[in-house]
């Protein structure tokens, strides 16, 4: 069934979009990731203008992370103080990101930046994940326990000034890396249409040593507000948020995530991560191919960006 997207100004097949939302929702439920980093490239492959894909995906992530954030909140898995400092950084990052987005769009380099960032980010994350899960699988075969966290170790991070106490996380750490992590995630949210959990969670665990019990809840808490802020900024500066598209993706995503979570319990962790890594690399590969292969036409025509 064809449906006309009022902001993207094109007709799309609603079932394809529902299917895409469902498939990405399934994966995000299975792997416990947000899914923005898969959804945005998929939307671009489908022909949605990258500017609309990014801004609309930010809107969808608000929905996808709200239910998770609420669930963690009820389990007291959110360190509000830490979340607010991350959020402060995130808002600044998002603001800068939306401005960069606007300028690059005006000079015709936005699509390029989005693709290059995705190739770089997905390529490196996918590679790291493959290495990590291969190592874990080998370790399991040899019968050794897999250990990730080495608590008590101090790094240069702990020597920075402006220390703050985060009670629920039982942390006493400088505000600088917290703000920096938040800002990076905000910047990515605005330019790439991702929640940024896949960067924030490892950074919180490995750099800040936040206990695993509050990592996910706190990052989701930050993501809800940063993507909400990003959505409003994109809506007011670039006019690229398509609520009809966002709504279709939300419906597909919510349903898919339920089945994904169920399937996730049936598979082993390393296998899951190995699968996700392959998927991430495939998306990066496709984007890289589009960047380097000779296009059908050497010319691009843009009409009335409203800038």
């Amino acid at each position: 069934m064809q449906i006309y997207l009022p902001v993207a100004e094109l007709a799309v097949n609603m079932f394809v979009l529902l299917g895409m939302g469902g498939a990405v929702g399934f994966l995000s439920g299975m792997f416990g990731v947000g899914g923005g980093f898969l959804m945005t490239p998929l939307l671009i492959f489908y022909g949605i203008p990258p500017a609309v894909a990014v801004a609309t995906e930010a809107n969808q992530i608000v929905a996808a992370s709200t239910s998770g954030a609420l669930a963690h909140w009820r389990r007291r898995g959110v360190d509000v103080r830490l979340g607010l400092v991350l959020l402060a950084g995130g808002l600044v990052g998002s603001l800068i990101g939306v401005m960069v987005f606007r300028v690059l769009r005006a000079v015709g380099q936005l699509d390029l930046l989005i693709s290059v960032l995705y190739v770089g980010l997905l390529g490196s994350i996918g590679t790291l994940m493959i290495i990590e899960s291969a190592r874990a699988m080998r370790a399991r075969r040899r019968g050794r326990p897999v250990s990730g966290r080495r608590p008590g170790q101090h790094t240069w991070i702990h020597g920075l000034p402006f220390k703050m106490r985060f009670k629920r996380s039982r942390l006493y750490v400088s505000a600088i890396p917290v703000l920096a992590i938040g800002a990076t995630v905000g910047l990515l949210a605005a330019i790439m249409g991702v929640g940024g959990g896949f960067i924030m969670v490892p950074a919180m665990i490995y750099l800040l040593r936040v206990p695993t019990s509050v990592v996910i809840g706190t990052s989701l808490f930050q993501i809800v507000f940063v993507t909400a802020f990003t959505t409003v900024l994109h809506a007011t500066t670039n006019y690229t948020v398509d609520v009809v598209l966002a709504l279709i993706l939300m419906v597909g995503g919510v349903i898919g995530a339920q089945f994904g979570a169920f399937a996730g319990h049936k598979l082993r962790g390393e296998q899951l991560r190995g699968l996700l890594a392959l998927l991430v690399l495939a998306v990066a590969g496709r984007l890289l191919y589009d960047l380097v292969s000779t296009p059908d036409s050497l010319y691009v025509v843009e009409t009335g960006l409203g800038l």
Partner: protein, 260 residues
Amino acid sequence: MRGGGLIAAAALLALVLMLVPGSGPARGETVTAGMSDTRVEIQSNFVGTELTLFGLIEPEPGAELAEAYDVAVVVRGPGADTVTRRRERVAGIWINRRAVSFADAPSYYAVLSNRPVAEIADAETLAAYQIGLGNIRLEADGADSPAQAEEFRRAMIERKADRGLYVTAERAVDMMAPALFATRIPLPAYIRTGAYSARILVFAEGSLVATQRETFWVAKSGFEERVSNWATRRPLLYGLGAVAIAIFAGWFAGVIFRRD
């Protein structure tokens, strides 16, 4: 009796002469046109449409119709600033480099005719009335030379034609009778909203004998109209609304699928 027969024969001859085309100078024709619709509404299921335009050529009272007419219909959509960028390979990656912009270029343009326009009128006439993709008046900005401006102009027209936004159809006007014609204006899914004009040009033996202009509107309707109005006119409210919907959807999903 005989005299009466002569008068009747003369009257008949006059009548025949009036009906036989081509015997008088083809001057001062008028063309009357109508359209199947003057408003195209973009709704949620819009995938493009076609409008039928039909017309009748009539001679000036007392004059006669020409032997044959040619009809060209030039349809133009609302103008929009259009940028054409050329991609170049830099370090293996295709990057947008030179950009040439065309101010107020028609977002949609179609030339529909009963036969190739080059056969209908001479090049000067076609240029004067902007008939044909090569005759659209466009002002290039950002090009180094006229040759470069021409290169980008061609590229822009080609890309627009690929998307069905610039159309040339050389047999699209159906001459159902020497003075009666009809054509279909193809409007693709991603047309711009606004006022469209269809200019009907009637030629006889290479010279323009009558013109007429019809106007139609393309507008989003109902829900689509409201959404896009809000998005552009009340962006803050729209953005906040989008966020509110998302938060509600997330909360609602959490309630119905609650596992803990």
